[in-house]
Assembly symmetry: C5
Homo-oligomer: 94 residues x 5
């Protein structure tokens, strides 16, 4: 799971049918000690809002978040992070 922040919204009227009704959000990967991660679009399975830190799954796993295997979704928000605690003696900083 990637640690991401929700940074925006995206609208697409013309899209693959099975995507209708899905809430698509722009997210950015956020790594402790690093800046400006990858920006991409994920389908929201938990009701996340702009500015929240979230857990994002990728690949075939993203479809599992919606309980069906036929949605053309490869990134999904599956959790909203309450807190994240990193052990300063274990992590390596750049």
């Amino acid at each position: 799971m990637m640690i991401c922040k929700v940074v925006g919204n995206v609208w697409a009227t013309k899209k693959e049918e099975t995507l209708s009704g899905m809430k698509l959000m722009v997210v950015q990967e956020e790594m402790p000690g690093k800046k400006a991660g990858t920006v991409f679009v994920a389908a929201d399975a938990v009701g996340a809002g702009i500015g929240e830190r979230v857990l994002v799954v990728y690949g075939s796993t993203a479809r599992r978040a919606f309980g069906k295997d036929n949605v053309p979704v490869d990134c999904a928000i599956v959790g909203i992070i309450d807190s994240l605690e990193v052990d300063k003696e274990s992590i390596q900083r750049t």
Copy 2:
């Protein structure tokens, strides 16, 4: 889903049979605040045109966009982006 722009066309006469009839387009990843993303080929599921910004899925998910599991396609255009709104206070710029 990757945020991409359609930047070209590609033709391949000699190809795996099940690819026949598929519209293959050259796309480039486009991240807000970054330049010159990866260039690759995606099969179009929504009727996209050169210069349009699109949503691209990757991996096994790409096959879902065509409703069959046997096509040798690992990237698919699944939506045409109307608008994309990024919150300036949330996103980190390089």
Copy 3:
């Protein structure tokens, strides 16, 4: 499998239902001869603790570690490394 170190914990109250009860840990990729690898979240299948070196699998394989295919987990800790021995004449250092 990635060679990682467990570097932290993460809490998410609001999450996809099937994630309930799973132990989520923050891990960092650790490559011999390199520093400050990628930081992400993995579900623990073996009872790992902070500071331990672990083996992490990615993608659809992560779901296999939990013996069910419907969990929205794309990274799993599947082993705790006792020792790792690298042949100095074979490995290339940066």
Copy 4:
């Protein structure tokens, strides 16, 4: 799909049984405007030759190119590129 060039051959006598009879080729990713892409090995499904530009699929999709799901192949050449046309006003150069 990646845009690659076939750059070599590879031989492996001792290999997983189901790989027998497969033609393995060394390919290099080739992106318009970039140089010296990743070099890896792909199984050829279309009869490609050294120096040709090809379309390569990755992951579970590669197995689809051979019409069976049990081959341990994660990269496959699925088309030979006749021509590739890039719109100069749409693409971003490094």
Copy 5:
């Protein structure tokens, strides 16, 4: 398939049950013309030894190398490279 060299061994007593009996080896990606590739762990399906050049598959494909879909293995050694021939006029060097 990645071109790798076997560079070490790894031991993990505490691990996911279905991994028992699998031979895990430390491998390093090796690209013609590049140095010091990624180091990771792969399960050996062909009896490879330290210092040998091997073909490694990734993702769901790695499970195919063991003929069962439930092993939590995402990287597998599927062939030992006898020889690799690269066409100097086709490959691009960094």
